[in-house]
Symmetry: C2
Subunit: 437 residues, 2 copies
Amino acid sequence: SVWTGDDFSAPTPNIIIMLMDDMGWGDLGVFGQPSKETPNLDRMAAEGMLFPNFYTANPLCSPSRASLLTGRLPVRNGFYTTNAHARNAYTPQEVVGGIPQEEILLPEMLKKKGYISKIVGKWHLGHRPGHLPLENGFDEWFGAPNCHFGPYNGITTPNIPVYNNSEMVGRYYEDFQIDRKTGESNLTQLYLQEGLGFIFTQALAHRPFFLYWAPDATHAPVYASKNFLGKSQRGRYGDAVMELDYSVGQILDWLNLLGIAKNTFVFFTSDNGAALMSGIMGGSNGPFLCGKETTFEGGMREPAIAWWPGHIPAGTVSRQLGSVMDLFTTSIALAGLVAPDDRVLDGLDLRPVLFNNSVIDRPIFYYRGNEMMAVRVGPYKAHYWTWSNSWEEFNKGINFCPGEEVAGITTHTQEEHTLQPLIFHLGRDPGEKYPIR
Amino acid sequence: SVWTGDDFSAPTPNIIIMLMDDMGWGDLGVFGQPSKETPNLDRMAAEGMLFPNFYTANPLCSPSRASLLTGRLPVRNGFYTTNAHARNAYTPQEVVGGIPQEEILLPEMLKKKGYISKIVGKWHLGHRPGHLPLENGFDEWFGAPNCHFGPYNGITTPNIPVYNNSEMVGRYYEDFQIDRKTGESNLTQLYLQEGLGFIFTQALAHRPFFLYWAPDATHAPVYASKNFLGKSQRGRYGDAVMELDYSVGQILDWLNLLGIAKNTFVFFTSDNGAALMSGIMGGSNGPFLCGKETTFEGGMREPAIAWWPGHIPAGTVSRQLGSVMDLFTTSIALAGLVAPDDRVLDGLDLRPVLFNNSVIDRPIFYYRGNEMMAVRVGPYKAHYWTWSNSWEEFNKGINFCPGEEVAGITTHTQEEHTLQPLIFHLGRDPGEKYPIR
Ligand SMILES: [Ca+2]
Ligand SMILES: [Ca+2]
């Protein structure tokens, strides 16, 4: 069939992005979780490429996800707020808008090449009509528009609807139970089945697909199904991780079984660092400082694994400084698309990294809202501003850095160092404990 | 030859114990070091059994090594002191004695089965005549009796001799250079060659051997040879780790090349946690609290890998709580010896763990000198006493827990909790941040 016009030198692979919610770098065995309870993710790394230096674009759910799907920093795509605590940005239930319509999302791009796109799980880029996934390029959706704080009490806590495409089919805690006492819920299993079913349908139809698989079981309140509850060494949080790890394994096995593994690019990562303010109900950021909501390494460095048998060399470790924004740029390149030229893209095309283990020079920017707090260049990270959280919050028992205190760094007021940034060498000092000046 | 009396169901393997100096749990890629610069150790784990819950018996060099070679807690073998700072035990240059003669060391046991034993590197169980390795069961020695603090100034700092068997062949910093400015030294290469040569000689002679390979390149002042200096992402400490990792790979390759890998039990571990008081010149304890000299996890949990192709299943992770003392007991069992019955042994025979991935119920005791500070049973750790270091030391800038502070735990006075111990769940809370009560 070389005569049909197919370009076999550049096949357009299926694309699966597995995005975890609040899972920390240190939650995977391959990244040093002592319980070593992620055999499927560890196998994915052994068969693929591990990224120990991979970052989100913002240490909170919404702007991180907006950056991933647009390939642009929150300050460019506009999806951030600064009026919340700690200058951070999220999507409170009261927000009426969503990701700006001017933004081009990954599924909108991929549609040009005939891809069918599905989001399974959490959207978080707007929860009112006009701002939902099917209005932003996705063809299918099963999941919730928002975080599963709750449960709904009808007075102060809004409901968390679950959608099947454009139809609301129920609510978290009501039709889709999470037992707040035991942590039992079948939602990860539903999300797994939705993913497997979508893959199967597209494989049968020989249609290229994009699956954005975004379960939320590791976001507080964490949950797991009956088969996983109590199984981990780490309590309920570890149970949720084990079920997600199992699900990743099921998806990779499914690709192999269907014979499409060699035509499917899979990337696993998380939207922000582990939520250390949740104590033992949160995850682990390994050796890194602080967690979610901060611009220290614990807030923004993410677990990351790329997998594509026959294309990405097995068992490799990349030194690339990567970003969730690169998933946009790399995906459109893999699909044979040209990047839009009417806007700045912050994501890199990682193909030279994935295929040749090249390292591309690029900085990492660490934002809170529209404030650039820090920059990483090579092994060096310069903090222009330092801040964990306010004294007011801290004194109420909210702690983004429990058990950690680095004088002059984990400050409880927003401290300026723009004239003489605090510089760390992240190779010698991944925990940001010893400023060079 | 089933008629010669040989018991083929229990071959007596060669035994290699690789003991690092002040290397931390978090220094290995397989345990979460972000630089991922230990491909040989990671491969050793992939081909063998990983122990994420393996402990020393004391958070300092000398008593740790005494416990490993006797299978007994320091309070039983007597090799500890309590007069030094923080109740810790070491072997100052002024000490005139050594490991008590009543103690039975591993090479003394193995001699009964015809093993030839060599120590390469640091001894640290007595540095005066009468207390050296060849007077304690070893047949051969190349290395130093003590730590390589220094250099020798002839007035306040004694020399660090290097022995070849019973002959002193020179001194650290003089005949065996360590450039204090650049960190360059060939000592790890010498220790590697001594190990390879010993293995080769015994393999040719078909004689069972015990190699106790104890290089000290990761003990401050850390050093590496020219080929490794500047090569790591972590500075000089990482260079030393890379050279040791390379050396481990050379030794394993050598066993394969000589055809004796299937008859050689190899165990890799470290004598105590990373020396966090050395700042960026020290190692990493991953997610664990504090470091060397303390009884927090960072002081006593060690990287550990068992390797024996064809006997230990490849790629397994053990949930066993292990101890350096188990290396004595397991080694004599592997050699077909019966443990001495005139004394208490604290080490376990790990054969059911190694061969069947069983888990044996046992506690871990955390000592400083003769003070039992804490006990671990299953996932629970009870602190009867808490102490990092004294206010006096701390105020001089000596910090065993840099960047870390857990209120009421990392105390600067020795705090008693014997009536109501502080209890942590190390599965949910490996960093010892959230006491259960
Ligand atoms: Ca999140
Ligand atoms: Ca040591």
